[in-house]
Symmetry: C2
């Protein structure tokens, strides 16, 4: 029986494209540089970091610092510009950052399950992700939030998934993690014995692809998956 549902944040609850667009706008204002040039560098740096994480070769304690430095170097600016830009972006994002159906789904699950976020941190600190979840009303439906810069472990590291389970004294088979990155979210959760949902927007329908794993189109499909467990 599932007692805890863990949500990845970016591209699961919140639209990372909205955040990155606002980040690009902020950098463009600060640097007086056209937005096109900047978007490319951000996406490239992001891919670079995702590779490092997949192989778990990045330092968990310094992950945020190193990601910001990598981006600063790619943009050829002082890291202070990156810090200012992520603050500006956090100030300017609007409600379009909420992915469709997310609030309604969390409302539905709230009170019936322990609801957590298990999030990796890249160019901005978890404090800004917390602030956005607070600003647009999602934090009300989350029991406790866990982030890599606070717990010093990032998905797919085991500790990232186990920290919430230990906190709430829940065993892996009583927990489900849902997220959009196959290696970080889906495989990482399965490896520690949890149930897992992989969000693939191109999937045609909800499908069981592992003893404990499902592919879904969005978080809304949780309401279809949970009765099957």
């Amino acid at each position: 029986m599932i007692r805890l549902i863990s949500f990845d944040v970016w591209n699961t609850l919140l639209d990372i494209n909205v955040m990155v667009e606002n980040l690009v706008k902020a950098l463009s204002e600060l640097l007086g540089v056209p937005e096109n040039d900047l978007m490319q560098k951000i996406l490239e740096t992001r891919e670079e970091i995702k590779k490092i994480r997949k192989s778990q070769s990045g330092s968990p304690e310094k992950a945020l610092e190193e990601s910001q430095e990598l981006l600063a170097r790619a943009l050829e600016v002082d890291v202070e510009i990156v810090k200012r830009a992520v603050a500006k972006a956090t100030l300017t994002v609007d409600e379009s950052i909420l992915l469709p159906g997310v609030k309604e789904t969390l409302k539905e699950l709230h009170g019936k399950y322990i609801i957590t976020t298990t999030g990796n941190v890249m160019f901005w600190p978890s404090a800004y992700t917390r602030l956005i979840l607070e600003k647009f009303g999602l934090a009300d439906y989350i029991t406790k939030q866990f982030y890599s810069d606070e717990i010093k472990a990032y998905k797919p590291m085991r500790e990232a998934f186990l920290a919430p389970l230990k906190y709430f004294n829940v065993s892996p088979e009583e927990a489900l993690h849902i997220g959009d990155t196959k290696a970080e979210d889906f495989e990482g959760a399965l490896k520690v014995g949890m149930y897992a949902c992989w969000i693939n927007p191109e999937a045609e329908r909800v499908e069981r692809i592992h003893e404990r794993g499902f592919v879904v189109k969005s978080v809304k499909d949780l309401l279809e998956v949970l009765p099957q467990i």
Copy 2:
């Protein structure tokens, strides 16, 4: 000749009472508890932490985490409530958080000096302080911001004052630090060989009280002090 001016943030640039009032309001909403009860506990916990810092006996790496845990314990709540409340407070503070004359003074000094912040972090991460400085237009006049949760050293530790000096290759006697806490700001800066201004709102006038130290009423008095160095 002064090349770098370092500013404490809370009660030097920004009014901490405005932040704490908004924090109390947020806690009150989250807990359904009257505001009066909460203010007392916040102030007591704050005094406790300031004593720990004065004797430099708190761990620099875990300072934010430990301060939030201390407050959570004093309020008898999960630390998640503290994290949510500081996020809410950051969202609700208005322009009254800017202390009088601060923006005009920074504008005046900008471009003539390297301007830094050297801030200790207590109940909320530096990311929120950065966001507030960005939101109300002060970040435009600051060359680079330094905070204890990022540099892993808090005032009055030497490293907290030396980090900006090392970054900009400025020697202590070419730098001035201004802040409102006598031990953390004034004595800490003097000890590493910098000039120092102590903000005492009850001072009657600007006065030299040390070879390298002045007492002032607010940051505006910097414009009176700097020509004397």
